[in-house]
């Protein structure tokens, strides 16, 4: 199994015909022709997210993402979406703590106008009061719907708020409401200058075009955008935790629930693939350790999940569970610890490791089915690992994970002194 997979990876590396061009201003462009479907996916990763923010401007990265669609020097507001939708396409974007990513997919005939509009907004985004005020209102509603009025969203936000004291990961990418309301136009302008320079971006284009022609046009449209200074590095000032943190969260809700987060690692840590395998063993599918114990055997939880949330800087390994019947958050919490302790003590079986790898492999392969999926993978890997070819290493890394490594990872990460716990206390009335 292992040898066969390694061979597959090596073979593929020679065969995927991605061309890479870096302009003098630092913009990286990746191109993968595929004439199967007459569409083009255009994907941009800017290497900036909420980890680049500071108190007072939390949420700026995401607010800015919205502002990118509201016009630039040559194209009036609304034109960007009108051109793409008339060309049968659609556009969207999302922001994370570590990146801001834009994606469009449209009929191939629309490519030239998209390139022109993309270049223009990277060069000269329209940054005025009307733009920021418009998006401030919209983003406030986004925060209300996804966080303030969502039990899940607000619990997750509180977990990260409490687990970190110094690192920007302590605030969610959406930002605090009062910061969203207070961010100034000057903040947005400075942000654009610092982080939206071509040397801080990677573009991947996948689909029905000719590479030589694409590179010619992009050189023509993008080359005169000035390079920016290197963005200031983010200082990870997070001190060691050295003790469990417990938070109660009171709000109207029907059933108790719990969120748990253990201080974890960077996704560049060699242990990261083992944590993905561990996360699958713990909570992917009904045969997983946590589902089988909490939901099926003991019937104390209605749902349980686990997630390896490693980031550029060390993130969290998180758990979530919702109680069922008359069971409590404490019941769920103790049952989760029992499962973790068992793995720390006795390890996992070879079959569990293989089962996890089977699921991970399917997920990896499924990511390549669409032009947009491939464009995202190429751009993200180049942005985060410096080389799109990193995509070839993922399956081999998973395949090399052993049961012993999984146990070692569990012992290292599931340390009660590095734990933060948020318990939902259901109330009848608003607090």
């Amino acid at each position: 199994m292992l040898a066969a997979t390694a061979a597959l990876g090596a073979q593929a590396q020679q065969k995927l015909d991605v061309s890479r061009l870096q302009l003098k201003n630092g913009l990286t462009i990746l191109a993968l022709e595929d004439h199967t479907v007459p569409t083009v996916a255009y994907y941009t990763v800017f290497k900036v997210g909420s980890r680049n923010e500071r108190p007072g401007i939390t949420g700026l990265s995401h607010l800015f993402e919205h502002m990118m669609f509201n016009g630039s020097a040559k194209y009036k507001p609304k034109v960007f979406d009108q051109e793409i939708e008339a060309g049968g396409g659609s556009s969207n974007a999302f922001t994370t703590s570590d990146s801001t990513e834009y994606n469009e997919e449209f009929s191939s005939g629309t490519l030239d106008i998209v390139l022109r509009m993309e270049a223009d907004r990277m060069r000269a985004l329209k940054l005025d009061r009307a733009n920021i005020e418009q998006e401030r209102g919209i983003v406030s509603e986004e925060r209300r719907v996804n966080f303030d009025n969502s039990v899940e969203g607000s619990m997750t936000e509180r977990l990260w708020n409490s687990a970190f004291v110094a690192h920007p990961y302590r605030w969610d990418t959406i930002g605090f409401m009062k910061d969203i309301q207070a961010i100034r136009l000057a903040d947005a302008k400075a942000y654009f200058k610092t982080f939206y320079a071509p040397n801080n971006a990677v573009v991947a284009v996948v689909g029905d075009f000719h590479t030589a022609d694409l590179f010619k046009r992009m050189a023509q449209y993008f080359s005169d955008i000035p390079r920016g200074p290197a963005p200031p590095p983010v200082v990870n000032a997070e001190p060691p935790q050295l003790g469990e943190r417990r938070i109660e969260y009171h709000r109207p809700a029907e059933l108790p629930a719990v969120r748990i987060g253990y201080k974890s690692i960077s996704f560049k840590d060699p242990l990261d693939p083992a944590l993905d395998v561990l996360s699958a063993i713990l909570a992917t599918g009904e045969s997983s350790r946590l589902y089988h114990s909490l939901v099926y055997e003991k019937q104390i939880a209605a749902s349980v999940s686990a997630s390896n949330e490693s980031r550029i800087d060390p993130g969290l390994f998180t758990f979530a569970a919702q109680a069922q019947g008359t069971h409590t958050a404490a019941d769920c919490e103790q049952a989760i610890y029992a499962v973790l302790d068992d793995i720390k003590l006795k390890g996992v079986t070879e079959r569990e490791v293989q089962k996890a790898k089977n699921g991970l492999r399917f997920g990896v392969i499924s990511g390549y089915k669409t032009n947009e999926g491939r464009a995202g993978l190429l751009a993200e890997n180049d942005a985060f690992w410096g080389d799109w070819k990193h995509i070839y290493t993922i399956l081999p890394k998973y395949d090399r994970v052993t049961a012993a490594e999984v146990q070692q990872a569990a012992r290292k990460i599931f340390n009660p002194l590095n734990r933060t716990v948020v318990t939902l206390v259901p109330e009848k009335e608003p607090q």
Partner: protein
């Protein structure tokens, strides 16, 4: 939510009681996996459903992606991998070709056969990835639930995986998870469904499992109790999710007096016993009402032979279900669900519309796109972009076998509830009375044509489309003739739809939020019936 490992129940293939009935909301904890189309006209590319960011559709944005690093960071890592040679091989094949000049779509060949026991088999080769997708549909579905036992079919399809003549629930779960991918069951108003998405090398094991759970389930009593408890927990927490409340109340109100309007409650879920489960199994799962669609990296003849081997000797027992009565029109309803702690009002406007086979279907796709689809629609432009009243607003027609709804959904902070209602109704009234422009008409034509092709890239989407075509009795060349049908819709057809369905005076209104702060804003907006959120789904 690609990055989060959810150990709660895996999403059913049809997110039951979620899409389709005019409420594009996805209940928390469930993921809408495109499966057939349930008749809903979907403008939104899958990407908008998956990621957060600028998402316009309220339901989707609510669920999917708080634009946090967690999911997206994980997305970066977990979806990355080494490509096999298969990808390259696949790229050389012309799979789905859209000839822009001629505006035609060519699908790869589809093989349609019928087994001796009545099962329809529809097979398409897809060589772009080494995977197999199977979608099975049994006509019937939740509308066959016995009186007072709503939810029985939904429980039954979950229980298919909880015990067979040869395997326990635990053994089945282990077998499914070991295959990677998914093996799943589901139900909606008109269908029970089952399916799999696997690497093609696991096809035989997957089909064996599917055949076993469909043909030889045992419905152990202890498993029914487990499943009931989970369902009760889900119904109990509905009030925590304002969007879910709005969808639930809307479905019941707009389909009042019709099987589509029956939703499970805690009481009906408590009332279901094992005999009910057996009854809905025999009524719902039967080869004479079964269609299998398979799309994947196989040879068609080989796949058809395998399906014959797994299902060909299954004999029918049940009688054919009675036809669904047509959906009756309902009087205008105004309901305010009181959720005192909310800081935002969920808004739904709806009216009875048409069934999937209606001639209104195609002109409505265009009219609906212009009113409330994509980022350039009239509603998004006015209510979101010009007025900043919401993060998401959209309109949709859901067209089921026996009828359907037209729905607008949005949300706004409490203080601007009336402003959002007035702005939305204003846009609708103008569209109904003055019609749409030539430019909007052409843009919508281009948008829908492009989206149709973009969305058919994956085997899952192709299987869903083929399955949906068979279910609704659409012609075999439906995909190939989609663009000509769209082009055949003239501007006056679109305006006729706008006049008929967008006129705000006939719309029902569902609001979910704090009644004490909303009621004062509703002067002159008609009489609202106020209900406590705690009563929903009791």
């Amino acid at each position: 939510m690609r990055g989060t490992f959810l150990a709660s129940r895996p999403p059913s293939l049809t997110a039951r009681s979620s899409t389709g009935k005019g409420e594009p909301f996805v209940p928390s904890g469930e993921t809408a996996v495109p499966y057939g189309q349930k008749g809903a006209i979907a403008h939104f590319p899958p990407s908008r459903l998956r990621e957060g960011g600028r998402g316009v559709r309220p339901g989707h944005s609510a669920l999917v992606c708080p634009p946090t690093a967690r999911q997206c960071r994980a997305r970066e890592k977990k979806c990355i991998g080494g490509l096999g040679p298969w990808l390259l091989a696949g790229m050389l094949l012309v799979m789905l070709k859209l000839d822009a000049a001629a505006q035609t779509i060519h699908l790869p060949p589809v093989t349609r056969t019928r087994l001796a026991n009545g099962i329809r088999v529809i097979v398409m080769e897809y060589h772009r990835a080494p995977t197999v997708t199977v979608r099975i549909v049994f006509t019937g579905g939740e509308r066959l639930d016995p009186e007072g036992k709503t939810g029985a079919t939904a429980l039954m399809v979950d229980l298919l995986k909880r015990g067979t003549e040869t395997r326990s629930a635990t053994q089945i779960a282990e077998a499914i998870d070991y295959l990677g991918g998914s093996v799943d069951t589901g139900a909606d108003d008109e269908r029970c469904t089952a399916g799999l998405d696997l690497l093609v090398k696991n096809t035989d094991d997957g089909l064996d499992l599917l055949a076993e759970i469909l043909r030889h389930p045992t419905f152990p009593a202890a498993e029914l109790e487990r499943e009931r408890a989970l369902e009760l927990a889900s119904l109990q927490t509905i009030g925590d999710d304002p969007g879910r409340v709005a969808g639930y109340v809307l479905t019941k109100a707009m389909y009042a007096g019709h099987p589509y309007g029956r939703e499970a409650t805690q009481a009906t879920t408590q009332a279901i016993n094992r005999d009910d489960i057996l009854a809905v199994y025999h009524a719902g799962i039967s080869p004479d009402r079964m269609t299998i669609v398979a799309v994947g990296d196989f040879r068609s003849a080989d796949m058809t032979a395998r399906l014959q081997a797994k299902f060909g000797d299954w004999t029918a027992a049940g009688a054919a279900p009675p036809p669904t009565p047509p959906v009756p029109p309902v009087p205008v309803r105004r309901i305010l669900v009181d959720k005192p702690d909310a800081t935002q009002t969920q808004v739904r406007l709806a009216r009875t519309a048409f069934a999937r086979n209606s001639p209104d279907y195609f002109p409505s796709e265009l009219a609906d796109t212009i009113l409330g689809g994509g980022f350039t629609s009239r509603l998004v432009d006015e209510v979101r972009v010009n007025r900043s009243l919401t993060y998401g607003i959209g309109s949709s027609f859901s067209a089921l076998k026996a009828g359907g709804l037209f729905t607008v959904d949005s949300f706004t902070k409490i203080e601007t509830t009336r402003a959002l209602l007035d702005a939305t109704r204003g846009v609708m009234a103008r569209t109904a009375q003055q019609g749409v422009t030539e430019a909007e008409y052409h843009k919508a034509q281009g948008y829908l044509a492009g989206q149709f092709a973009i969305q058919l890239q994956t085997p899952e989407a192709l299987a869903g489309e083929l399955s949906s075509m068979a279910f609704y009795g659409l012609p075999d060349n439906y995909v190939e003739t989609y663009l000509p049908r769209l082009r055949a819709v003239a501007l006056p057809d679109v305006n006729r739809i706008a006049k008929r369905y967008f006129e705000p005076n006939g719309l029902s209104t569902i609001l979910v939020g704090p009644a004490s702060k909303i009621s004062g804003q509703l002067k002159g907006a008609g009489e609202f019936e106020v209900r406590p959120v705690t009563d929903v789904a009791k």
